[in-house]
């Protein structure tokens, strides 16, 4: 009953669009006098910026030299990175044990990479992660198989940044979803609790939360009891990020048409099934872009842990720069760091775009 009949009329080809570089330039860059002016100004600006930068960064630069050799050149001294790479990346992890955090980071990255495909999101993946996390934890902390114990105070550099941000995001996301559901709950106690929590956390900067976790919180603990400093920072980051995720997810929940709830209700699905099968899959998909924004800033905000004397990768770079030998080369060191952060952030946002595309079902 759905076979469309092909009517017998002439089907014209779509008009051919102008192509060719010249036509494109004329249409897009020089189509009016003010656009032409802007084009020329931009080109002049680029001429003054790009060649000198390339000269500095690539032509006059040194890549694998001593600090002394760098004194005599005009260009960039990238040598600061290879010469200090071990400290920048691994910080104070004990001599001779460096393979442990490196292996742990490789494991984490491979697990993340493996989890990319949605077809692999099943129970087995959960087990992979459980086992992986145990191995990573023992690699970092040690105390097993003759690996000496490395206290968390010595965890620093990139492994610390990766740990704080990865677990910050992974734990904050479900917590944020629960808070969002709680804020829309019909039960007044749960609703109030969630509103108070979200508004309180959003009302203070992350720095103050970190201070509280490192200075105030221990004062309330009974004598002799301590909670690990890294763990406290981790919890602060999770609690902070979750509040922001909650509000974004709430936006997604509010965007859901009432008909979806009603259709689920009329099939006899209960609240949990409705949320899990109907509402959350759609709502969370809608809010992928803002969620990724929050996750990215959570990732970058982990560098704030320097204020409670944790040495993340930004701080280890700073320490390197405080070495008189390398003091003058902060531009190079920070560019390296910026590239490192950029790669991680770009990977996240391009993955989120792919996910959005995959989840698009034509509505």
């Amino acid at each position: 009953m759905n076979t469309p009949q092909q009517p017998s009329r002439a089907y014209l080809a779509a008009p051919i669009r102008k192509i060719g570089a010249l036509a494109w330039f004329k249409d897009n860059l020089f189509n009016t006098w003010y656009n032409s002016l802007l084009t020329v100004l931009t080109l002049v600006g680029l001429w003054f910026i790009v060649p000198p930068f390339l000269k500095w960064a690539f032509i006059d630069s040194l890549w694998y030299s001593s600090a002394e050799a760098c004194r005599d050149i005009e260009g960039a001294c990238w040598s600061i990175v290879p010469n200090n790479i071990k400290f920048i990346i691994l910080g104070f992890f004990p001599e001779g044990q460096e393979w442990r955090p490196i292996l742990a980071m490789i494991m984490l990255l491979s697990l993340v990479f493996y989890s990319k495909e949605r077809t692999r999101w099943n129970k087995r993946l959960g087990w992979f992660w459980a086992i992986g996390l145990i191995i990573m934890g023992s690699l970092m902390y040690g105390g097993l198989f003759g690996m000496p114990v490395v206290e968390t105070a010595q965890w620093s550099g990139l492994p610390l940044t990766m740990m704080l941000s990865f677990f910050g995001m992974v734990a904050a996301y479900p917590l944020g979803v629960l808070l969002a559901l709680g804020r829309r709950s019909k039960m007044p106690a749960i609703k109030t609790l969630c509103v108070v929590y979200i508004e309180m956390i959003r009302g203070v900067p992350l720095i103050s939360l970190l201070f509280m976790s490192s200075i105030l919180f221990p004062l309330f603990l009974p004598d002799g009891m301590t909670i690990d400093k890294v763990l406290r920072a981790q919890v602060a980051i999770i609690l902070f990020t979750a509040a922001y995720i909650a509000e974004v997810v709430r936006g997604g929940l509010q965007a859901m048409p009432r008909g979806q709830y009603e259709a689920a209700d009329s099939l006899g699905l209960n609240y949990r099934q409705t949320m899990r099968l109907i509402i959350l899959p759609q709502a969370l998909k809608i809010v992928i872009p803002p969620t990724v924004g929050i996750l990215l800033s959570a990732f970058k905000d982990t560098s704030l842990v320097v204020i409670i004397a944790l040495y993340d990768v930004l701080k280890t770079t700073k320490v390197t720069l405080s070495n008189p030998k390398w003091t003058g080369y902060s531009t190079e060191a920070y560019i390296f760091l910026a590239v490192l952060y950029f790669i991680c952030c770009y990977a996240m946002s391009s993955y989120s775009r792919r996910l959005e595309k995959e989840l698009h079902t034509g509505h």
């Binding site: 008909g259 979806q260 259709a263 009329s266 006899g268 699905l269 899959p281 079902t361 034509g362």
Partner: protein, 252 residues
């Protein structure tokens, strides 16, 4: 409240007595009395805002009533009802705007209820789903997503989705009002087939041709009251109330 009692086909499936409903201060339904027997087909019509949709939405408690009694399939709908899901599973509902789940394929839309509410094994649920898709003449679209279907096709899928729960009674809330004119017929045809198989149906619609063809009773509502009800022949040929006459003169 006990669970749904063993079915007694002589007993009416829906019984509404003295039901009132308010939206805030607005008295939207007033003294509704309605008894529906197994296999009965009732068409409800009336001007917009007359409370007809609200009334059938009260039957599966998408809306709550404040006074009076609604008994569905032996279970009274009350404020402290624990097993509302159980009642709803027996009452199929088709909406004006289809309300298919856009993130699930057609077949997944259909198997969701049987798998999660009826605990049917997946394979069996899929066979059941295909059977009902067959019935609404749309089996070839099973793997597609709702967004890829026309309005008429979506509404037929929505009907099949409800049927997969094997409901005792089907509620239709203006099922053809959101459709382009050329798609209305394909949906009505499916509903007529359903009626011929003996399904208990309550249909809110302005399709008077459909009412004439399948209804046992046509009911006219205005200002939140049931103004009159009668067999289709009597209702159309010999309306009793002035409001009914006015309404019929406007739509026919």
């Amino acid at each position: 409240m006990t669970d749904t009692q063993p079915k007694d086909t002589t007993e009416s499936i829906i019984k509404i007595t003295g039901m009132h409903k308010w939206y805030g201060d607005f008295h939207v339904l007033s003294d509704i009395n309605l008894e529906v027997q197994h296999g009965e087909r009732i068409v409800i019509c009336g001007p917009s805002g007359s409370g007809k949709s609200t009334m059938i939405r009260c039957i599966n408690r998408l809306e709550e009533h404040q006074q009076g009694q609604i008994i569905v399939n032996g279970t009274e709908l009350t404020n402290d009802i624990k097993n509302i899901e159980k009642v709803r599973a027996e009452v199929g509902m088709v909406f004006q705007h289809f309300n298919l789940f856009p993130h699930l394929s057609i077949i997944e839309n259909l198997t969701l209820g049987p798998i999660w509410v009826r605990k049917t094994p997946k394979k069996e649920a899929e066979e059941l789903a295909m059977e009902y898709l067959e019935k609404v003449h749309i089996a070839e679209q099973a793997k597609k997503y709702p967004g890829q279907l026309s309005g008429g096709q979506q509404q037929r899928v929505a009907i099949a989705r409800s049927l997969c729960m094997k409901p005792e009674v089907m509620l239709f809330d203006e099922p053809t009002s959101a459709l382009d004119p050329e798609m209305i017929k394909e949906v009505l045809d499916v509903m007529i087939e359903l009626a011929e198989e003996g399904m208990t149906m309550l249909v809110v619609t302005h399709e008077m041709g459909f009412a004439e063809k399948v209804a046992d009773r046509v009911m006219f509502m205005d200002y939140g009251e049931i103004v009159e009800q009668n067999t289709p022949k009597e209702f159309f040929d010999n309306p009793q109330h002035d409001r009914t006459k006015l309404f019929l003169s406007q739509i026919l």
